[in-house]
Assembly symmetry: D3
Homo-oligomer: 334 residues x 6
């Protein structure tokens, strides 16, 4: 049993039912999510020991958030209670050519105001095999960035493998530091890079195209600059519309390029968290299989997430392996 630690904001998702707009009905449903917590949950469902580090409000909302993580197998023992509210977002779910829309309420959240000194990184990273972070965290606040950097440094000392998903979301960065500087600093401490030409262009001020040749060139350049990076794992998506997607994955591990089959999601159930499902699938694959199978695992995990409601991917390792083996006809299991 492997142990994976994640760090990041837990967000409450609040949404009207079906494709309704908020003003159409006073019924809502909620899930808890957050990109790194989603990874922790998915890895717990795959059978790993997982621990998530964050700060939540010291009220019944924070209590519900912790209960949610516990339910899905994530250790919440090191989560910090805060007097600030839990971050949340409202979601209106689109369909076909109508986009889903998100309204955030997170800029003064418990996590944004986390005190880096209150985190017990030593205990969290004890006997840990993998640490995962994303670019959302350092974007949120200076405190969050500092806390993450501390964690990465300790993880590095302990020889823990670190995966970076430095997805750059410009809307989030609004404190003193430059996104590019911060992300480079953190990637320099990481071992597995989740991203492709887009993300590398943002880091290195390059201009690679999206095709496979450029993907390999970009990956090589990144791995030259950051020798600790042992592999670059990218996913590609074609959205016919909000309800119909096709996904593939590709990688360069320094020696080998590989690309998966395309998986077609003809009826998207929930688009949120599919990238996190990819990351969790990749980590599961790299912890238990070889690079090529890990890539397939990541892609199949991502595909399955499109059929799961909520932010996190509640599928088992067997579910994912079935997809890799080509069982995609969705026959009833009795």
């Amino acid at each position: 049993m492997k142990k994976v630690v994640t760090f990041g904001e837990v967000l409450m998702r609040i949404a009207p039912l079906g494709n309704k707009k908020l003003k159409q009905s006073n019924q809502l449903e909620y899930y808890f999510g957050g990109t790194e917590a989603n990874v922790a949950i998915s890895l717990a469902q795959f059978g790993n020991k997982t621990q998530h580090i964050t700060a939540v409000s010291n009220d019944f909302v924070g209590d519900a958030a912790k209960s949610y993580l516990q339910k899905l197998g994530v250790d919440t023992g090191l989560i910090i209670d805060s007097r600030h509210p839990l971050g949340l977002y409202f979601l209106e779910v689109g369909a076909v050519m109508r986009s889903s829309t998100i309204a955030y309420n997170r800029s003064n959240s418990a996590f944004c105001k986390i005190d880096p000194n209150k985190i017990n990184w030593e205990k969290a990273l004890e006997n840990c095999d993998w640490f995962h972070w994303t670019g959302i965290t350092p974007a949120l606040s200076l405190n969050a960035f500092k806390a993450l950097k501390q964690g990465l440094e300790i993880a590095n000392k302990k020889g823990i493998t670190i995966s970076a998903d430095p997805a750059y979301r410009s809307g989030l960065w609004n404190y003193s530091h430059e996104a590019k500087d911060v992300l480079n600093e953190l990637v320099a401490l990481s071992n597995v890079f989740i991203g492709g030409p887009n993300e590398i262009n943002e880091l290195l001020d390059t201009n690679f195209s999206f095709d496979n040749d450029d993907f390999i060139k970009a990956s090589k350049l990144l791995m030259e600059k950051y020798s600790n990076i042992k592999g670059v794992f990218d996913k590609t998506r074609v959205s016919l519309n909000a309800s119909w997607h096709k996904i593939k994955a590709r990688m360069w591990n320094g020696k080998e390029f590989s690309e998966t089959n395309e998986l077609e999601i003809t009826h998207v159930v929930d688009r949120i968290g599919t990238g996190d499902a990819y990351a969790a699938g990749l980590i599961q694959g790299l912890l238990h299989y070889d690079d090529v199978k890990a890539l397939q695992f990541a892609n199949a995990s991502c595909a399955l997430k499109h059929t799961i409601e909520g932010d996190a991917n509640l599928v088992t390792e067997d579910d994912v392996l079935g997809i890799i083996e080509g069982n995609i006809s969705g026959r009833i299991k009795r």
Copy 2:
């Protein structure tokens, strides 16, 4: 800010959830609709001042109907309270090859029994830029027809642009007057014709085919007969089944033929009110843009309505403009 006035029945839609048949569950949900009210709501969402004229029951159902219109930005100040019940319909929502089915309860409704003398048309049409009517209204009762005709005559005097959507629904006409006579009388008072060969054939006893050449010929004939008609705006639909449609729009404005791109709705959320969304989009376009863009606006507005639950099209002008600009991949908006 333009002001648009509409006149017609407000209907309550009552439906079991999802694709259930009524007898399968005792849970229901409701919306208010009615073809002209839907147009008013959509135009209010686009940012216009709108007023809807109708009669509703003087009980908590009628109160809820008015509240619903107010919520979505429609002025209800001139709605008449009646001792007759509000019209309503039950809906069972089909899928794929199963049709949706509607059971009406409207033939003795507050609107059918509306007293034409109680309508304050002068106040309603004050500073009004546009008046919209459909063929449903004169079909319902002699009172409704008389009231509508009064409104059109006053609107004409005030130089207000009038759009006619004379959709002929044979099942509704059951009083003394002939549908064709009545509709010709009303179209003669109008400026924008929403329909195509089918509707013109019904009016003029012609036999035009559905192709574009005949569409132009039919339009020309109509505009010859009714010189006040300045344009004919049609929509065409291919239904693979109840869940998958393709739509296009075309127009003849006396000088120019134009046709939009096809928009494909691969996963229909709600089919009801899509024609009203077309009409509202067209009016919005004609009030704010040129004829060709108005046609595109109408088609895009109609397409988006297929993704909105309920009878009315709750999308903004920006939403529609985005579709016209080709943003149909449904990417999440954060």
Copy 3:
């Protein structure tokens, strides 16, 4: 008005809403089903007199099961009350490449423990035109097998047409008898065989392929062995994934091979009970039309079931005839 009798377990289906996993929400919805009861319900909806024989728990769950059958037109007057619980299953509904999953709780159910001596077959089969059974029943328990065999023997004596749907589900057989022996014994008492090469291979230890030639050969062999069998009616299905199916039907009636058009279900609403809808459609067709139209009726009935929530096919004869006539565009019926 024809009378059809069915015999088999009534199961309660309990499922979280939408595509949720059970642990995601504490809301559930239920239906009653069971393969033979589904056939009875569908035939009642088609306008026949139907009676279902089974055993249910003598508590409010059993009472609800009987009420459910009554609601949908099935006579419950000969159902046996038992001190054992009603069988049930939990369902998690999949989508796209995610399979639906079923967890059964039926092995000690009221029906499995049914006392064959308590069934009033004479009364049940009075003035009966058709008796239908499936391979699920004899798989459940020795008691169920014995009871079914008694019923078949009495039905045979009364000259009632018997349809057999010997679908073999290996997971269910866990008592002393061999599935193959039992099913052969029961098919020998039947007149209409619902199945194809797969089912015949299981019965006769043959190895026919799935193509039409082999279907005919297999059917001939079966009808040679069991001269009472007057026709073999098969259905074929292509599942692109859990949400998108294509179905066809074929038959050999000793003289004639026939195959229907393919019907495409682009948005599956509910996959459960579609085989039962086929069987019910076939029986309805054979009771009221010729073999070829019966096959079309079966296929169209099966297609429509994919759009109906719950286990049983709540469509009317007119609904099915509409599909046969090619009205598959799903246009709203007002």
Copy 4:
């Protein structure tokens, strides 16, 4: 097994959830009811054979109404299908000092327009032991009155016991006939009178007070005038507020006065249909027990209905007997 026949309108009740006002939420739930249908349902739950005569719309709403009655054990075989809509009412449920409010939509319903010649009274009243009617029916329309009178006359000829619940609701009477004349005409054909001083005052233009002495005097006067009346059965209610009631029952059967204990409903779940539950309990009691126990049965049945959601009383004979025996502590039954 006794057979009871009832005649009257089936109404659909549509209500927002809990204590919400209609405009507060778009979720609704529905039940079917109608005062006489409620009596039929309750008597079916007590184990009697029951048949309800009415007219319903020939659409899926009427189909759902019949399915509902069948579910709860009422024979619907003689119900007439009509092209007019089913009557319905909307309900906002009050609490404490806030009244529940009802908005009717029934004045042009299938039942109001029932054709008396289409009712097969001979078949309905075959082997019938009891016929029940209420004052709602003749209030609705001349057709309904005529149909009821026909039924009563045939029932009288067949020697069937007839119970009359002539509750006078002034808001309903709006056709040519006088309520008092009509009700006297119908009471003259009846055997059991459900009512007390209020109802007798309305019939006989008397002025009896509500106390027990006057109850007896009024009953005697009524039984003098209508010698066929064998007993007068009244119920009395004290409403502390909408959520807290106390009820008692009393009777005069020509020989004996009797009064029940008071039953206190400290937490009213659903007030609608409690009078019908009294009537059904009374009929059950008179069919199976003596007058005094029948009165107790009526009162206990009425009390229990306050705890049942929907219009009809879904309790068993054992449930009622338990209350009569004093088991009112509500201890869990396992």
Copy 5:
């Protein structure tokens, strides 16, 4: 028709259903509220013209808030759109001895950060008859205090009657100013004081007891200090537990002491907003009746609110007058 203007935060209330704790279910329902907005809504339901001034988020949550106010009759034309999120609170509803619990997320809300210069007080207070404020607003932020003070000064100049509900909630005050100073400054600008000994003690550093004598003494002292105050209107509540309350109201208007009857709420449906219902009832009473009847109106309005779900009191003037007249038995209105 009177015009009333209110100013204050609109809060979204989000709550699990029934008495559930948040972690027990992922279903929620929401209402919009906020103490001053509740007053505006209630006064609109009583038939007044009302306008609410606030700031909401410029996303679909803010749009839903405005739609909600419009639905219930409040003019939203002067509401300010802000880039900050809408304030909200989560609610777990208690029962009996279990308290309801609230978790706020409002300290960085659109309203707290409102820019006083963006409010068009001149237009808002045009033709206005009454302005209402509460002590929540100045507690929230310096901006909110400044904006309120501006409004009061302009209202004073225009001779508009001003009601003050200076409820002191210590948990909210966390900026530089002292609550007592601020509230005195604002009360000095007001005409109607809603409160009693508790509130006066907080303002004047006195120590009055809760009895009627001290209520009068305290009122006199307040009215001496602030001669513009023309009346003091208090309410008193006895809570047996969270589900059972008794309420009364009392006043001193400089000449006369008056006290209402006690109203008993034996089954509390929703406790939130009952104080606002009192305030709205009082304003309605003072605008349309004399002081004594206004007090009764306030108490009856408050009582009814306990039976209404959501934050605002959706009852009509007739509903309240009925209670004053003693109709508290909750008899069904048909």
Copy 6:
């Protein structure tokens, strides 16, 4: 932090909403419960480390059960997966004089068929402070009894305090052993007796009355016979009806008799699991306070459970202490 271990069946509760009967609606909601699991959950909510030992089905139902326990803080690491289904019960919730009714489906459950050899008692009882059992467990099956006895013996060896709640439910005992013998054998291994004269009479064939004198005498007799028993803790309940209860608690600890105040639950939300809430409160009290305060804690915990939906008591230690301190007015906590 104390550690408590419990052993017993986890049952799924499935119920229609509100006071509906199962046949009235196809909507359900579920909770997991089971008397010993309820105790574990409540103790986890009080802040203890808890572990529950049981067997659940190896399907998604069993997975959901474990997730549920984890969510509420119970360690599920030693739960056994079984091929038998999870036990469950259906519940119809009564009100006032209508009893709640339970229909069980547990006699062939995973727990009944538990293999005693598969339980890792050594690990479970490591560092454990308290073990709790009830009379339900040995009633279910011989396997369950054997497993429990093993656990008690090991706990005894380790010096762990053992509480016994030997509630005798005659309906459950249907295997070879006598309830009385088995319960005596197990009580002999226990230290804290939860029960009173009723339970002692069943064990010792005595005939004590329910009054306090007899309670003390019975307790003394029990403690004489089983010297390891250090205290007898009883609760007494007066049910006005299903919706209104009054509860008290009393104890004899060998030296001292004590009785709590009465707590009145005027509006019962959920009656199920209140006895378990008493037991959990008692254990919490005995682990952290003295006997008298433990008794108060038990009674207050029990009272609060009546306001919590579901089987387990989701209140905190502070909630209970508040009740003990007399804060029972249910004032809102902000």
